[in-house]
Assembly symmetry: C2
Homo-oligomer: 240 residues x 2
């Protein structure tokens, strides 16, 4: 049995050929030929069973055989907002893992203690797409451009909102307990700070904007681990 090949085609329903990089991969690397089957995902909830109609080195025209919508695998809307790590591969790893586990939206924050204030969206998008394919999801997380912390927390945002921090002197509850009692259809946003944590000022600003201050349990976690643990908590607390 031939392995099924997955391709990301944002406008799969209306388009008739693969985007350039996917076409090149299909034809030049995988050597796909007319009649070969493939699965397209549009990143917004639909798989398409398709077959190759025309294959040339730079083009791969396809014909859709069947449209297969994927039901959302969780309720609510999961949003993680994190200050990217000094070493970018840790943030990239986090993006891969939260996509596998399941997340709707990822925001990057520019904080007072941030050790990294720029990110390359194109590279991060590639990681999301690769993880989406690998974990067979028809939904691609939305990745937002880096935003200033102050701007981010001042934006209106529905659902439950949390800020994780490590200050013993600023009261915190346990995120998992907070999540367990919720209506699972509610949106959840969790903010994770940089390596040096949010500043007390930032925590206060978030609290004033309606974010509930939380901790993530007894273990001292790296930034990228904390983001992933928060996403796991969203799922497990909803019985998913």
């Amino acid at each position: 049995m031939k392995e099924t090949r997955y391709f990301y085609v944002p406008d799969a329903a209306s388009a008739t050929e693969l985007p350039a990089d996917e076409a090149s991969h299909a034809v030049r690397v995988l050597r796909m030929k007319p009649g070969d089957e493939m699965v397209l995902m549009d990143g917004v909830g639909t798989f398409f069973k398709a077959e190759v109609a025309v294959a040339s080195p730079h083009h791969c025209v396809y014909r859709v055989v069947e449209e297969m919508p994927q039901l959302p695998q969780w309720h609510g809307r999961y949003h993680i907002a994190m200050a990217p790590t000094k070493l970018m591969d840790r943030t990239e790893w986090m993006l891969e893992k939260v996509t596998e586990i399941g997340v709707d939206e990822v925001s990057l924050l520019n904080c007072d203690n941030s050790e990294r204030r720029v990110a390359k969206p194109a590279r991060l998008e590639k990681i999301l797409v690769s993880a989406m394919k690998q974990s067979r999801k028809a939904w691609k997380p939305v990745l937002n451009d880096m935003a200033a912390f102050r701007k981010f927390v001042s934006e209106p945002r529905g659902g439950m909102k949390f800020i994780a921090h490590c200050y013993e002197e600023i009261p915190r509850t346990y995120l998992y307990d907070e999540l367990c009692g919720r209506d699972v259809s509610e949106a959840v946003t969790v903010l994770i700070g940089p390596e040096g944590d949010f500043t007390p000022d930032e925590v206060r600003m978030a609290v004033d904007a309606g974010y509930v201050p939380v901790h993530l349990g007894q273990s001292r976690l790296r930034t990228e681990t904390a983001a992933m643990v928060a996403v796991m908590m969203m799922h497990l607390s909803a019985g998913e």
Copy 2:
């Protein structure tokens, strides 16, 4: 305020100087001098506040000031047994993360579909030690040498035992549900297969040996993600 420096000294209570690599790091990299404070961890539950007595390029003699046992941060005993990934950095990443999140024992399995049948214990130990220091744990996970799957499952083992697999045709329950009802003092062992999964034969062999077949939820997870998710489930199901 000077940053506290952590060193791993397996026999910290009886020894009087740092092991060679830690001594070199303390004296040559961190330029520690007599009188400087440090914290030693013995990997089996105790921190020692100490101060440098003698510092020479290859030796660092210390004097223990205070013994500070760390209470276990979770109940029971968490054991993850995983087939190492083809790309070793994925397994290394997993070791770092489960150490941060908290695990007692990690075993490496040699399975029918394994893409990697050798591992370098010395390198993996270094990762565990680094993660233990970073997450301020006085307990170091035990890392077992690679073992043949058949041998591993045939060994007597107390507590709850699970094997995660992806076969729709072999009945599975949800690991998190199984864990939620347990007596939290019970030991838990979860087996995670290689990239190509366990073979049906291996799953049957484990089931015959008392392992409960489970899945890890709706998402399709990579091997190393599955191992980490299983460890998260152990903690969250115990309310930790």
